[in-house]
Symmetry: D2
Subunit: 305 residues, 4 copies
């Protein structure tokens, strides 16, 4: 026993009866916005973290694993992305990574939770690193789906940086066939999209269904994975386009493109890492082969809660 | 599994490897003052609560068990307490109970943590119920021991509403022989004191030592107990005086005095409850008989942490 | 961090989102009988313990608080109990306490779980202390209710040492009006019964309903309480008879009877402890006054699980 | 709340204040051998599992991820391994995988914990699948290091399937320079070794030091990784030899060799999986570059406990 035993604990329930618990060593802010409960604090093992509705969204320990894995493969695979749309991404770190690309002229970021963005601006400077003040960033406080339905704008890249699809949650209908058609609608010719896609190990049916659903809309669909300790395991993404295939890029090609087109340093992403992410081990391929489900507005897919 | 599984948890470590964990269903305030870490929130089972450094200080579920047990036995046993000193008691609930006594003309409350008092004023109205605005209350933001050493005031009753003695904690030297001599110094003739005295079951040596130490200073020393769910068990107190013995009062006598001298309603304390608290079951008496320790400034007693 | 952090933990869920967790420092036996899951091991804080279906049944730390509180008040209040029936009591500690009374000629113990009794004989010698080998003890491996319905025997005292009433549990219908009528049927004239009665604080409606239900069958019904750390709080009992009132006994009378009639030493029970248990503090009396429910076979009462 | 909340919990402390907790839904066996505490039971999320000293050793959910990753890359890279030594591997699953290779003529398995092997034979048939009865397997109940020092035998492959190096633990000195020299001593010309190597993310210094230490003894040292949910993350291995380099094998070459040389089905390992494991993402490469430590008997490396 001792002073070191945790008294404030965050528990992430992974399955029924299985949780990752972390001591909250310091609290920066805690409460609820109109949309979700939040905690910004120092967590044992992973450091400063943002927790929403009991799920670690990102931590200083490895937010770069997640955000670089989400942003760069599809951005690098595109010839020269000028107009980028981010849906979600409240911490500002996705915008930060997008803005490292010299091609980028405009980033539109649509997030529904204005209070959360204010908290991020105030408490998460290590995440946004000034991205909110970048004149190329246009922040839209709105529902992402509503924005897609009504905007006249077109984009080279759409990045979906969302919470998992949960019944009643803010992203419940941001993983359906109808939604991806709306994404397709705002893409310029030669454009591409990428989405986070839940955990292939913990919620395999969700991961496979997101892949299947996107594959119903786009010609080229490429699931890939990384590992994120803060998310308690392997994490999945899906990139899609009618013309771009990021999985074709060799490590050397990726490294050359990084050098040419990216300002500043990357801590996670490079050519070999790119290859690692698009190389799926046999059990992950088996999971992708095991489900035929497609999510629709009337029959969506949810992670269990 | 389900939405109901806790994600924000407060764990109170009782002994090495033994803890009471409670879900934090809502956070009102969380952070740190100059002296301690705090959490004000809704806790599973016990409702709205104040937690300091990982210990539940009081909850709406049973703060009345604790505060009425602390205040009324010694106040009722005194002929007519006019001047009352409270050391600690930041929530304002001890002052609230003291102010119910019609005899009381002045309550001096000395608490070291000004930030905590501001939090209590703002977030704990159910505790203080306006006590901080009562013109009879004089709030002194100072170290309790320093106040006792330097004040010229004298009191009929001194109430010690402190956190447990912990090494390095704010109450480390507020349970020693030298401290109780300072208490004795500010008592009027016929005056009396009472202190919370930790858990007789969980920290028996601390409880017995507090009793022994007080018995070295006063002629009449009366340990008594109640139960406080929020403190995970039986809770101990010690009342002392050179002339007053609260354990002598019959249930009927107590009920008569309550009727005459107390304004408003009591939810915990009455004559039978008084008798219950001063009737110690055999194992508690055995504990009190098992230790001869006396705590001094050079050899204080601490609860394990 | 350190070796001392628990890895095997027993969590007792008290309410939704509130639990007491204890490290299992050593496992003596773990598995399942036909009726329940069991763990016999060393638990942090309370030592060697029997856990059934996730509930600590008793521990070396304070099994004497529970078993002496259950057995002695009603046994002492009876003129001279010769024939005693125990329903439940698998550890053998209730029989151990009954057998300390010199009057006792025969103890019939009816427990449904033969496997558990074998485990108790093997692993819990500190509990039974040879009671299972006492020639006055007659062990019946049967359902308690069925035994009551069919036996021709009559008893001076019936002791109900049961698990709490849980839906689908082995004691689901051992707290109903019909059940207490069966108990009444096997009592000799002048006989009395006692039952454990759950926690007045944690399950107040269950506690009050057990009292009410028993009061529908017997002329004299006396709820009383003690504290059991291993049960996480105050614990309730109800004694009942058509002629005996244990609450009338003075501390001195109890102490005299103990001296005359009990062999061996008691660690918890004496005259003052007797008075303490029958003195109910105001909130407990308020709880008893708050519920009119009576449990019947068609409308039983259960603790939430 | 409900029946589903866990009451028997296994907590794996990952760092100070960070743990993965899993409900134990069923206990098959629990106790202690001469060397370690064990639990064999059904764990939430990962199913039937073996837990030693609070660490999940393997689970039915993904023991094939671990055991196939440990055994096959180096076995496939060798021309034709006939004599194989396993140190550790008590569950029998490493032997099971080795025995799938048609070249294999003899497997010597040296494990110090005879009681654990008996438990594995009885309770873990899904792991060993009869391997203990295979006439090619020779089981030696001895200390692995002592065996290496004294044996006259020589091996094509040595597989180190050990618990992490912990101070005072059974594998404390099975990760040092002196130990790997002993391994080298028993290798035939053209032989190779592989060891599990702890978590690159959670204990990076241990992982890098194991790599460095092995690289001090062998000409070719190849760290590789997989993911094991039951171990709470990315898991590391190191393969080494004076002549064999498994990282050179193309996916097609691996698939061809599997077809030719392996009996039965593999669930995890194939050519693409081989490539995935030897492709290290940038942060893992950075970790390997960050430490120069070499572990010796007088200055060993330990995981924190």
């Amino acid at each position: 026993m001792g002073q070191k035993l945790p008294w404030r604990i965050v528990a992430e329930w992974i399955t029924e009866g299985e949780a990752c618990i972390r001591s909250v060593e310091k609290v920066y802010a805690a409460g609820a916005t109109k949309f979700q409960e939040y905690l910004i604090g120092e967590l044992a093992g992973i450091g400063k973290s943002l927790v929403l509705d009991g799920k670690v969204q990102s931590s200083l320990f490895d937010e770069h694993w997640y955000h670089e894995a989400l942003v760069h493969p599809i951005m690098i695979a595109h010839e020269c992305p000028k107009d980028v749309l981010i849906i979600g991404g409240g911490e500002g770190a996705t915008a930060r990574e997008v803005l490292k690309h010299k091609c980028v002229e405009q980033v539109v970021m649509v997030d529904i939770d204005a209070e959360l963005i204010e908290l991020a601006k105030k408490y998460l400077p290590e995440w946004h690193q000034g991205a909110f003040d970048n004149e190329k960033l246009k922040l839209v406080l709105d529902d992402g789906r509503k924005f897609l339905s009504t905007t006249d704008m077109e984009f080279d890249i759409v990045i979906l940086d969302l919470v998992d699809p949960m019944e009643g949650g803010p992203a419940a209908l941001l993983y359906t066939l109808e939604f991806y058609r709306l994404v397709s609608r705002v893409l310029k010719p030669g454009g591409a999209m990428v989405t986070q896609a839940s955990s292939p190990i913990l919620t395999p049916r969700v991961y496979a269904t997101i892949r299947n659903t996107i594959a119903s809309v786009f010609n080229i669909t490429r699931p890939y994975i990384t590992y994120v300790r803060s998310y308690n395991g392997v994490w999945g993404f899906v990139a899609a386009s009618n013309s771009i295939d990021p999985s074709n890029l060799s490590p050397d090609a990726v490294d050359k493109l990084i050098k040419e087109r990216i300002r500043g340093e990357l801590r996670f992403y490079d050519g070999v890492t790119h290859q690692w992410m698009f190389t799926l081990p046999k059990p992950i391929r088996s999971i992708l082969d095991s489900y035929n489900d497609v999510a629709t507005d009337s029959n969506p897919i949810y992670v269990p809660v």
